[in-house]
Subunit: 440 residues, 2 copies
């Protein structure tokens, strides 16, 4: 809270957690290398870029002269390129440089940023072209070996609880919500999500639950409070664990919920239930075997589990800019790759639900709240950070709307165990119940 | 129907559709090689077999002398081996020979056949041992190239509609039913299954549906009658297609449903919906690419589909006896292998439901009905066939109860299409509805 007061008092934060070169000299037009007129070659390059994008209804506006329109002369959104270097960087490596240039202000978007990215995704399709595959070698994702995982997680989740409090719900759930009705508010939808997970798992009082990757602890506390289970929850983020522990104490749940600052690979013991929400995408596919071994090891003959993770329909790396600047080491697995975790663990998949559009709805809420707080974010981390995070949220929203990303909820149980729900009707039996739960 | 009258008048059928040597000389004890006393070596072998099975509560009873009990002296079921050769065949290749010997009467089971097989499955676990893997090379599954597929399908499905009418429901649905309540009857559960498939697919009047593998046509007719769609349904079985066409004419649905006697690879054209119930397990994993190509080809930008198939949690061949005698060319895919069909087809998985215990319940109904008609079956095809099919039904029931086999229902839609159900609540909104549909 101390940080927040400093921020609000107007003191400029100097940290630059993303490592993007700020190039603030771009903004006033006061650069030494003030760009000259746009050559014919450069106009040709701009036209070629629009064609390569599949002629979306976008205008490319160079630093001087007329905008370049698509073949149909449409332009619902305008992309301003502020200098010659920005054009060449974007032409060379668009997947990475769009984010860099947008963040440091050398590329600006006039119009709806989400619709722009959606239009680009729609034009590209989901399968990666040869150039994107080659460039993904240049931007090799960070590893998730034990030491690096810690750094990766700190990079994102230790930006300070005050930052996340600006745009997440009150309980700080930083994963896809579940909206029984699309019009539901974010607070209720996050409670409905936790409730639905507990119902899918059919939690019984007295059972033991291990949570791999617990964020700020809301689900662990919800399970213990509303379903009477004991929970041990693991997380690498120091800031999140400290917050979760304090909440457990304040709510008198610390005898039934314990939070451990450690990697999922450190989990020992046997439990009735394993739950992992929003973590598999940080495991990285080279470590799926370790995750499979964990599941097999910590679930007994009647064990059951639940994975909620961002995924994809087609195997390929995350956008390199997102991986580099926002989520180091992240990889969204396909359902096929998720099965490669559960099959060797001896698990039987009972239920898979794709909540892609619920994640888009969640991100609409987050982005709205983020925009409403953008001045505070700028005061905390500077304009480059604010633009980078706006782009990340807008890009994620576009990715879920367009089907680039999926959200899979997978319920599983030890192969051959017949103590399973007869059907899914009970999940929907009382329409009001997911939102009737005690509120935080 | 002519066949049925002959059967009921007591005329013995001479055909032997399974190809198992009947060895009817075993039954009266009038064999030339009347087996001598059981040697110490043979008793040791029987004990070793029980141990290898994990000491289930089973007694092995040799052709003479005392039964062999497990280490705890329990025996809820007794397996009688009628001669020395039966013992050695069973010891050498149990996975295949159990079925052969049971069918031709050289091995008899006293007690609950289903519980016996469940106990053996439980003792073995799901992962194949080295011997089973080696023996699976000996019993290489039949191919599913175009010509062979036709033979494979004739082998099973062209046994005559009268045979299947003895133990299936009135509409001849030969796939897992859906029981909203476990106590529901088979007739209602098969209607509930068809209805649930149509609801998951959100069928709209006027849409076009292609069905790959349509059995006796019940689902195609149900869709056209109750959801106002047009259906073209493919099947390799001549007997089934003839029956389905006649039903369509009788019900006045032949303008909206057409049945084609052809392989799924012959499907052409583009449709709103593709549905395939109980066919993927006959496609064979070497042909999944062709099935993927079919899905991609016949579903447009807004196409959606549904696969209902027997699967497994762990990759491995079907029991070799079932593959050889009952379902030539069949292979139960894992969910991971099913994803390998949908991913290259550009599909997004929306929903997966595992109905394993519903298939066990379905098989309980089928087995009860089969046992009630066993004398008619014997009159149709002889005692070897009757015992083989009893074993197949009992073994399948045990396989679903024990988790050897799974039943996956997978709903999918073209990647990126947002015209999808917001949640699954509507599937369960009116609890009565799956059983309130017009009856056949």
């Amino acid at each position: 809270m101390a940080d927040m007061r400093e921020m609000r008092s107007g003191k400029q934060a100097v940290c630059n957690p993303l490592g993007i070169s700020a190039r603030s000299d771009c903004f006033g037009g006061a650069r030494a290398d003030y760009p000259g007129p746009v050559s014919l070659l450069e106009r040709g390059l701009l036209k070629a870029m629009l064609r390569a994008l599949g002629n979306p209804p976008v205008a490319l506006v160079p630093w001087r002269g007329e905008p370049i329109l698509n073949a149909r002369g449409e332009a619902r959104v305008r992309i301003h390129l502020r200098d010659r270097g920005a054009l060449f960087l974007l032409a060379l490596d668009p997947e990475f440089q769009f984010g860099e240039l947008y963040s440091n202000g050398r590329l600006e978007v006039e119009g709806d940023l989400v619709r722009l990215i959606e239009a680009i995704f729609a034009a590209q399709g989901i399968r990666q072209g040869m150039r994107a595959r080659l460039l993904s070698l240049v931007h090799a994702p960070r590893s998730n070996l034990l030491g690096q995982s810690t750094r990766n997680i700190h990079h994102h989740y230790d930006l300070g609880n005050d930052f996340y409090r600006l745009w997440l719900d009150r309980q700080l759930l930083y994963t896809c919500a579940y909206f029984p009705q699309p019009s539901l508010g974010l607070e209720e939808a996050q409670i409905a999500k936790m409730d639905m997970i507990c119902r899918k798992l059919h939690l019984q009082p007295g059972e033991s639950v291990v949570e791999a990757g617990c964020g700020w602890g809301a689900l662990a506390l919800h399970m213990a409070r509303n379903f009477g289970v004991r929970v041990i929850a693991y997380n690498l983020s120091r800031a999140q664990v400290a917050y979760a522990r304090q909440r457990a104490r304040e709510e008198g749940l610390d005898s039934r919920v314990s939070f451990v600052e450690a990697d999922y690979r450190a989990i020992r013991g046997e439990y009735d239930v394993l739950v992992s929400v929003g973590m598999l995408e940080h495991v990285g596919r080279h470590h799926f075997k370790e995750f499979a071994a964990l599941i097999d090891r910590c679930l007994g003959r009647h064990g059951r589990g639940f994975i909620h993770a961002i995924g994809a329909d087609y195997a390929g790396p995350l956008n390199p800019w997102i991986e580099q600047r926002i989520f180091p080491g992240a990889y969204p697995p396909t359902l096929r790759e998720m099965m490669a975790v559960l099959e060797p663990a001896g698990m039987s998949v009972l239920d898979v639900e794709n909540l892609r559009l619920h994640y888009a709805r969640t991100l609409e809420h987050w982005l709205d709240r983020f925009e409403a707080s953008r001045e505070i974010v700028e005061a905390m981390f500077g304009p480059t950070f604010m633009r980078a995070w706006r782009l990340y949220l807008a890009g994620s929203l576009a990715a879920f709307r367009s089907g680039r990303l999926q959200l899979f909820q997978v319920l599983f149980q030890r192969n051959g165990d017949n103590d399973i729900a007869w059907s899914r009707a009970h999940l929907y039996a009382d329409k009001e119940s997911p939102c009737n739960m005690p509120k935080f």
